[in-house]
Each structure stands twice: as C-alpha cells, then as structure tokens.
C-alpha cells in the first residue's frame, strides 16, 4: 500500500517535471522564432506565403516536440521523434520545388538557386530520421533485454 502510494507520487512528480520541461523547451523554441522572425521577415517578405509556411512549420514542430517529450521513456517518444524528423524532411522537400527561390519587384526579378543548400539540409534531416529509427530499435532491444532478465 505504502509502495503503491510512493509509486503514484513518483509518477505525479515525473509527469509534472516532464510538463515543466516541455513548457520551458516550447517557450524557448518559440522565443527563438519570435526573435528571428522579424530579422528574416524583410528578406522573405517579398516571397508570398513564405512567412505563413514558416509559422505553420514552427507550430507543427513545437506540437510534435511537446508530444515527444510528454511521452518520454515510452516507445511513443520515438514515434513522435520519427514523425518530427519525417515532417522536417517532407517540409524541406515540399518547399524546395525546383530548388530555386524566385521573386520579382517592379520589373526586376531575382532568382536564387538553393538546390545545394536544400540537398545538404535534406541529407542532414535524413540522418536525423535514421537516428530516431536507431533510437527506437535500441529502446525496444533494451526493453526486451530487461524483460528477459526479469524472467527466472
């Protein structure tokens, strides 16, 4: 009885710690976006819809990060991490289009070829995805090892 009470107390403590950690992390990420957005807004303000898509990206990224942190120490944490890595890769691939950023002002048109940048970014995000998959495998492996050790 005392043990169960202690266990539930620990669970409450653990969950509140996770919530606090997630809140701080989310606030920090949003703060970085909040501080950087005005700097990049004049640069990308000429591209219609770019800032809106960045906003949507940051929102989804923060939600997946919160869910992943809340589900810490469970296999769902790796599900959400993988989903976040996949979302990041997908966002890069979708926003890449033909790899060129085109904008025009009056009768001037500017084209910046971002293919090389996107290629490096996508490669790194694929590495991140591979890492989350390895983490999930490692977690399941450790869990199986732990269960087999418990068996007499």
């Amino acid at each position: 009885m005392v043990e169960q009470k202690k266990k539930s107390k620990n669970l409450v403590k653990d969950v509140s710690f996770r919530v606090a950690k997630v809140t701080v992390k989310a606030i920090l990420v949003y703060l970085i976006y909040f501080l950087l957005a005005p700097m990049i807004a004049p640069l990308f303000g000429l591209i219609p819809g770019f800032m809106e898509s960045i906003e949507a990206f940051v929102a989804v990224y923060i939600v997946l990060m919160i869910l992943s942190d809340l589900a810490a120490k469970t296999v769902f944490q790796y599900f959400f991490n993988t989903a976040r890595a996949l979302f990041f890769t997908g966002y890069l691939l979708l926003s890449m289009g033909d790899g060129a950023l085109c904008t025009s002002y009056e009768n001037f048109s500017l084209t910046v070829n971002l293919t090389l940048f996107y290629t490096i970014a996508v490669t790194l995000s694929v590495l991140g995805f591979a890492r989350t998959v390895l983490q999930a495998i490692n977690f399941m492996h450790q869990k199986a090892e732990f269960s087999s050790n418990l068996q007499p």
Partner: protein, 263 residues
C-alpha cells in the same frame, strides 16, 4: 548501440551548426556588399557602331568571395528577334576587394539598318534585357534580371518627296524640282548622298539627280532635288505621273531603291 547513435547525433549537430553558420554569415555579408553604377558613356564610331560603356563598382566587404560574376545585355526588336548580345565575366571578386567593371554594350547601326526599312524611316523601340548573376558563398548562385526599352531614332524619319514643279529652261529642256524633307532622329550624324531616279508611268528613266546631304543628329533636312528632262511634246505629258527610285548612301550603308509614286 548507444555509441553509434550518440556519434550520429553529434555529427548531425555539427553539420547543422556549420550549415547554419555559413547561411548566417552569407546573409550578414549581403549587407556589406555594395553595387553602384557610374555615368554611362555613349560613343559613336565612324563605322556606325554605338558603344555604351557602363561602369559598375562592386565593393565586397562581406566574408565571402563573389565567384563567376556575369553581366549580360541583349538587344532585341519588338518581335523578340535578337539584335546584339554583350557579356562581361569576372571569375572572382575576393572579399575586401573594390572592383570596377566596365560593361560595354555594342549596337551596330549598320546591321540594324540592314534589317529593314522600319529602322531607316520609323522611330522604334528596342528591348534591352539585362541579366546579372554570381555565385555567392559557393552555396547560393543568384541571378537578377530586368527588361526595359531603348528608343531607336530613325535617320530618315518622315522621308518625303513633294509634288514636282516644272520650269522650262529653254526650248529643249525642262527642269523638274522636287522638294525633299526628312528628320534625322538617329544618335549619329548623316553624311552621304541621296540618288533619285525619275521614271515615267511607262518605266522609262527620264532623269536622275544626286544630292549630297549632311544632317546632324536630331535635326531636320529640307531641300530640293532637280532633274533636267529633255523637252518634247510626248515627254512632258509623260512626266505628269510616274515614280521615283530613291537610293541612300550614307557611308555606313547603302540602301535602295525606295519607290515613291507621284502625280
């Protein structure tokens, strides 16, 4: 398995930091780039070649060198047919370097006038397409382009021959005087000859006349061309209507015949 995962995480993080640092430095360097255009110089050569020299000053105070800088100018007519193309290429503009690039735009008046009557007798507009590009920070090849129009002034704008007037010189010949006028809207002076042949309605050559002309740019010409035609009862009636064949020789080029009917 923990070690490879950790190593993968560290390597990915290092590469992300490097990529973000390069992008941030590149973005920061853009504000230290200074492009400025000087006063364009227009030169007209004796062979009718118009050369526009455009000085471009580039002050690269950024952290990255600018590579493969190219500037291209294309002249085309209103139908989009290319008339001339000029390119300037600078392989590297090192960081901290102040460079002056002279971009020469050449337009051959001769080749333009040879393309047809529209450039000889009518004012026109030429399309100019300017494209500038460079490889910034080895990562971002960028290109900026614009289009604008350039007015082309015809050297024989509104060329006209008026109605002939007849003056009897003696019993054997009559002088036919024809007023001739045009405006030189071109960027160059005209110095040459205009040869006019007078034909009757039966295609017989009645007389010819050669007039030397010198018309400076943006000025008008008004003169008279005279033909001495032998007088006979039949020839006089034949001169009442017919046509002129006009041949232009302005040194740069020869053009003709331009057929103008009269009577």
């Amino acid at each position: 398995m923990n070690v490879p995962i950790r190593m993968l995480g560290i390597a990915t993080s290092i590469f992300w930091i490097m990529l973000i640092a390069v992008v941030a430095l590149a973005a920061y360097s853009v504000k230290d780039l200074n492009f400025d255009f000087g006063e364009p110089q227009l030169k007209v050569a004796t062979d009718g070649e118009l050369t526009l020299s455009l000085p471009l000053y580039i002050n690269n105070r950024g952290y990255h060198s600018l590579k493969e800088f190219h500037l291209s100018t294309v002249f085309s007519d209103m139908e989009g047919v290319e008339i001339s193309r000029d390119n300037t290429f600078v392989p590297v503009i090192a960081h901290g370097e102040n460079t002056t690039i002279l971009h020469n735009i050449t337009l051959s008046a001769v080749s333009l006038l040879e393309k047809g009557e529209q450039y000889m007798f009518n004012d026109n507009s030429l399309n100019i397409s300017v494209t500038a590009g460079l490889n910034f920070a080895e990562l971002f090849p960028a290109q900026i382009s614009t289009n604008f129009t350039f007015p082309w002034g015809a050297p024989f704008y509104n060329f006209a021959l008026g109605e002939p007037s007849y003056r009897q010189v003696d019993l054997t010949q009559v002088t036919i005087a024809v007023p001739m006028s045009f405006e030189n809207h071109a960027l160059f002076d005209i110095a040459g000859n205009i040869k006019i042949e007078l034909y009757d309605r039966a295609d017989s050559l009645l007389g010819e006349s050669q007039t030397p002309v010198y018309v400076s740019q943006h000025s008008a010409y008004e003169g008279e061309v005279e033909f001495n035609v032998p007088l006979s009862s039949s020839s006089f009636s034949r001169t009442q209507n017919g046509y002129f064949n006009v041949y232009f020789d302005i040194g740069l080029l020869e053009y003709g015949p331009l057929v103008i009917a009269y009577g």
